[in-house]
Amino acid sequence: MNLRFTRITAWLFTRSLLLLAVLITFIPFLWLVAASFKSNEEFFRSTFLPMREGSWAVDWSRLTFDAYQRLFVEVDFGRGLINSIFLSSVTGVLATLCCAMGGYALARFNFKGRGFCTALVLAAVLIPGPLLLAPGYQLLYNLGLLDSFAGLILPAIAPAFGVFLFRQAVLSGVPTDLLEAARIDGAGEWRTFMVVVLPLVRPMIGTFLMITFLGVWNNFIGPQVVLQSPDKFPLSVAVAELKRGYYSDYGLQMAGTVVSILPVMILFLLMQKDFVSGLAAGAVKG
């Protein structure tokens, strides 16, 4: 009896804490979505969704697309969405290719300078990004790359930790015998890489593509420093501009934030298996 009682208490305890955690996770975002469909006076009348007088039914008629309409028609937020998609996917693909090639070279070739390059990659992981902010800006100024997409993409396609991750993936996932066999069959180095190596490190490609895509999508300080023309701003800067230019227009800010977060959430749900398991595996091995 006593044992049963403790078991039920433990069950209730764990489940209610988990429920609380889920609620805390969801509520801010749900509130944001709900509020983005409300008019400015409605903000003061209801916390989540507007209710019918004296009942628990939602009064859908008091919701409006007004904020979204202004967002895309007046503010041209769609431009930011396109810029973000472009920057994130181009950087993601280039960085993945660049790091996969580099990681493969470090993992499966014997050459003079391999030790040095590996040490360089490991040491570079220690450099904090903000240290390179000012000298990087000066460099882009000297190269004439300020206020250009190239100035954002080029510095982002050679992250040292990416080479490190792909080096690990090749070491554990690409057997030397297979490379040997491909070579004996007459495949050139590039063909071996494309046909044998890349398919074998596919899980890491998925994980890394996602990490870079998200990293660029969510990066604020880079585009804030490099870009000057509003028509080049990605969502991160565009949304901050909403707060500067429309500081009392909460509806507009909310709609802009929802539009910025939603694509990432959808992508995450589609790719979550690769991503979470890849991250966790990295943590345990690392």
Binding site: T25, P28, Y104, L131, L132, Q138, E189, V225, S236, K243
Partner: protein, 307 residues
């Protein structure tokens, strides 16, 4: 095949250029956009600049000025408070959630893990926007919820309470909890897989209670990952910038109470236009973070040697 392979050992049969060709895109971009700026960072920290073009040599003056700069120390102490807050509140919560997810017969475990992890996918800028709106006077979620719930028990909550004005650090820490507790939980959950079931059973047989089992079996098993998570949190927290900058509308908050090291770097480099002073701040940050990394590695190595 073996005869051929013996006749042509892998390294000699292959073009010596091949590895360099594979490495070249990385090495070129890395050299131009990481190594070169790093070298420039040494030079730049000895200069005062007025925008990126006009520079003047000042020697060690930037560092001397930095040491005497009360705002820099304010930024350091704010950053430290935030970092300690995020370690001592965040990581226990993350570990607690990971342990809750381990409870037997839990349905929807992977779904829960996914949901709790999802906020870390939201960019800091966007989370900062969201929490800025949540902490807003009158229209914000927090004031409305407090007004609604406390109203039931007859307490009148002031809808115009300014969370961002009154509790600067609290706002930052709450937002960071929402973003990163689930993220860190994922690492602890992976680490909990290292807990040996036979040790747990042996401890139960020996009559050890849950608390004793936690300290004597679970904690030693997750310690390496915990060290890694603490280090990552420290590194991440010390680079805090977007959260205060966006939440406090491109400022450092009332009375600079949300001024962080990177925010101060940003202000000096890109609002004042002194890239030299900004780089000096960058070096101070780098010294702190590399120092923390070294300490963590030494501790981890010492523990491995002891084990």
């Amino acid at each position: 095949m073996s005869a051929k392979a013996a006749a042509m050992p892998a390294s000699s049969a292959r073009s010596p250029l091949a590895p360099w060709l594979f490495l070249s895109p990385f090495l070129i971009c890395f050299g131009v956009f990481t190594v070169y700026p790093l070298i420039q960072a040494v030079l730049l920290s000895t200069q005062t600049t007025f925008g990126p073009g006009a520079t003047r040599f000042v020697g060690a003056n930037n560092f001397i000025a930095l040491f005497r700069d009360p705002l820099f120390w304010k930024a350091c102490s704010n950053t430290l408070v935030y970092t300690l807050g995020s370690i001592f509140i965040q990581l226990p919560l993350a570990l607690g959630l990971a342990l809750l997810l381990e409870s037997p017969n839990l349905r929807g475990r992977s779904w829960l893990r996914l949901v709790l992890f999802s906020p870390s996918m939201v960019g800091v800028v966007f989370a900062a926007m969201m929490f800025g709106l949540i902490f807003e006077k009158r229209t914000g979620l927090l004031n409305q919820l407090l007004h609604g719930t406390l109203g039931i028990v007859g307490i009148e909550w002031d809808l115009d309470f300014g969370w961002l004005q009154q509790h600067v650090m609290l706002g930052l820490i709450v937002a960071s909890l929402w973003m990163y507790v689930g993220f860190n939980m994922t690492f602890f959950a992976a680490a909990l897989q290292n807990v040996r079931k036979d040790l747990v059973e042996a401890a139960i047989v020996d009559g050890a209670g849950p608390v004793s089992r936690f300290w004597n079996v679970t904690v030693p098993a997750i310690r390496p990952v915990a060290g890694f998570v603490v280090l990552m949190s420290v590194i991440g927290s010390f680079q805090l910038f977007e959260l205060p900058y966006i939440m406090f509308s491109s400022s450092a908050g009332p009375d600079n109470r949300a001024l962080t090291i990177v925010l101060y770097l940003f202000q000096n480099g890109f609002e004042v236009g002194d890239l030299g002073y900004a780089t000096a701040i960058g070096w101070a940050l780098a010294v702190i973070l590399v120092g923390c990394t070294m300490v963590q590695r030494l501790l981890a190595r010492g523990e491995e040697a002891a084990a």
